[in-house]
């Protein structure tokens, strides 16, 4: 793999950009691999990458039924933060956030990590108490967050309206090293590094069955023929239930559509990420100047990748109250992704009842921020059988009542 560098740009400028390589190989499936990862989104690719980097396992195929990074990795609002309440969550999300800091250097691919800071607005007394508690918990967990005053919120976000008609801003939970990254680049960067290690990324290859013998996974049937494997990692977000049914078990997961929208580009007006959880909306400004807006999830199971109209209205109404200057902005695009929601709003990284089969799912509405940490932990889980990052997120926590209740920490979609 030719490294990207300032020198490479100069070299290619001189020869009319004819020397750039494909970022990853278009591989043909082989008969057998040590490890198959189903799902070439951020989490699947990161899992494969850390399997290779940290454990030297490179006889790996990553199967994708659509195109690489075309699911929730390419559909989220790119927010990165780690201000969670519970210890296991803080550990894995902070691991992810800290890996994002140096991910561009690690992958030799610019993922445009921008630690511009994230504010979660406190707009009720209940939220003030909740975020004060989170700030204290984060201090103990080694996650740097602070509860800030309305005046400081106004200093950071001049376009905000502190005295909204329904919910005045009473303060905010501020994480200075949170921010955003370029979501596609995260998938592309991991894919390029995986391909460079000799892994096969096979797109348009849908898994149609999971072959097993004596309770042990033997391989998968795909739209491009059967492929054998020793270990199988299912990392398919919204479609986890479909794969679990093929493997013969059920998950504590329901899939719903979560939607986002983006405005026409405007001049720079907000250089932090603002989340307003009570009124249900969050917003940041992309490098192109578009306001990137995330809203609520549908209230019922569906796989439509579309989302309900009334949620757009709810979200936009909330944001116009909070940022009156956006009231005349036109929206450019709206889209949806299928998120896999668990009851405690925490992910599942676990062995499964099928030996040799592992699952990484349940990231729900907040998976993008966790990609590097999730891949790091999942790789260790698949290589060693357990990982300090993932042990608390096992599938049997539901049976055993060890919930990691993060709906309290965020209150809404996050």
């Amino acid at each position: 793999m030719k490294r990207y560098s300032a020198f490479a740009i100069a070299r290619e400028a001189l020869r009319n950009h004819t020397g750039w390589e494909r970022a990853w190989r278009a591989a043909e499936p082989r008969k057998q691999y040590d490890v198959i990862i189903v799902g070439a989104g951020g989490h699947g690719l990161a899992t494969a990458y850390y399997l290779g980097k940290n454990f030297g396992i490179t006889n790996v195929a990553i199967l994708e039924k659509g195109w690489l990074g075309g699911g929730n990795t390419g559909r989220n609002t790119t927010i990165i933060r780690s201000n969670y309440l519970q210890d296991p969550s803080a550990a894995i999300y902070e691991k992810a956030r800290s890996l994002y800091e140096t991910l561009s250097q690690d992958l030799n691919y610019n993922v445009m990590f921008s630690p511009r800071g994230v504010i979660m607005l406190a707009q009720t007394q209940h939220e003030v108490r909740g975020y004060l508690r989170t700030a204290e918990a984060n201090a103990l967990q080694g996650v740097k967050t602070r509860f800030i005053s309305p005046k400081r919120v106004k200093d950071l976000v001049p376009i905000i309206n502190l005295d909204g008609p329904r919910y005045p801003v009473l303060g905010g939970l501020w994480q200075e090293r949170g921010g955003t990254a370029r979501h596609d680049a995260v998938a592309w960067g991991y894919a390029r590094a995986c391909s460079d290690m000799g892994m096969d990324i096979i797109q348009k290859c849908e898994v149609t069955g999971i072959r097993q013998k004596d309770g042990k996974v033997m391989g998968v049937d795909t739209s491009r023929g059967p492929i054998d494997c020793r270990k199988l990692g299912i990392v398919v977000a919204g479609h986890s239930g479909v794969l679990a049914e093929m493997a013969g078990f059920r998950l504590p997961i329901e899939s719903v559509a979560l939607q986002a929208l983006v405005s026409e580009p405007i001049k720079p007006c907000m250089d932090v990420v603002v989340m307003a959880n009570t009124v249900h909306g969050y917003m940041s400004q992309s490098d192109k100047g578009e306001m990137v807006i995330g809203g609520g999830a549908d209230g019922y199971n569906n796989y439509t990748q579309r989302g309900s109209f009334h949620h757009i209205e709810e979200t936009v109404r909330a944001l116009v109250e909070t940022f009156p200057m956006i009231s005349r902005l036109k929206m450019l695009r709206q889209w949806g992704g299928i998120v896999d929601m668990t009851g405690d709003r925490s992910p599942i990284l676990s062995r499964t009842p099928l030996e040799g089969c592992f699952i990484n799912c349940g990231w729900g509405t907040g998976g993008f921020k966790a990609i590097p940490g999730s891949g790091w932990g999942m790789a260790e889980l698949m290589a060693r059988g357990h990982s300090p990052l993932t042990d608390a997120f096992s599938l049997d926590r539901f049976r055993e009542g060890r919930f990691i209740d993060e709906s309290v920490a965020a209150g809404v979609a996050h």
């Binding site: 049914e245 059920r250 329901e254 899939s255 209230g299 019922y300 569906n302 796989y303 439509t304 309900s308």
Partner: protein, 109 residues
């Protein structure tokens, strides 16, 4: 917008008037049942891509619970029926089969 007809009051209600209660026809395992059965009842869900039989409540209307058969990919609704049923009624099964010929009622989970 998803529209379901409440089988009690007959109102064709928008989804904003309704609340979804998740998978229908679950067997309510309680004290005396095995750990596996109780765990399954509390947490494990079918979450299908396709035909889903589920519970809804007409929250902003008559307030009653009912069942609906719906496709989770196309959002096509095959019918609604009262909550006091142990399985989807025949006319709804017929409507489902017109679209999903392979579908069969597998009994309560």
């Amino acid at each position: 917008m998803l529209i379901l007809t409440c089988p009690y009051c007959g109102v064709a209600a928008d989804e904003t008037e309704l609340a979804c209660g998740g998978e229908a026809h679950l067997t309510r395992h309680g004290p005396g049942s095995s750990d596996d059965a109780f765990h399954g009842y509390l947490f494990s869900r079918k979450n299908p891509r396709g035909l889903h039989v589920e519970r809804w409540r007409h929250v902003q209307g008559c307030g009653k619970w009912f069942h609906a058969a719906r496709d989770t990919v196309t959002l096509q609704v095959f019918g609604t029926y009262p909550a006091q049923s142990h399985e989807p009624p025949e006319d709804i099964v017929r409507a489902i089969r017109r679209r999903h010929p392979e579908w069969t009622w597998k009994g309560a989970a």
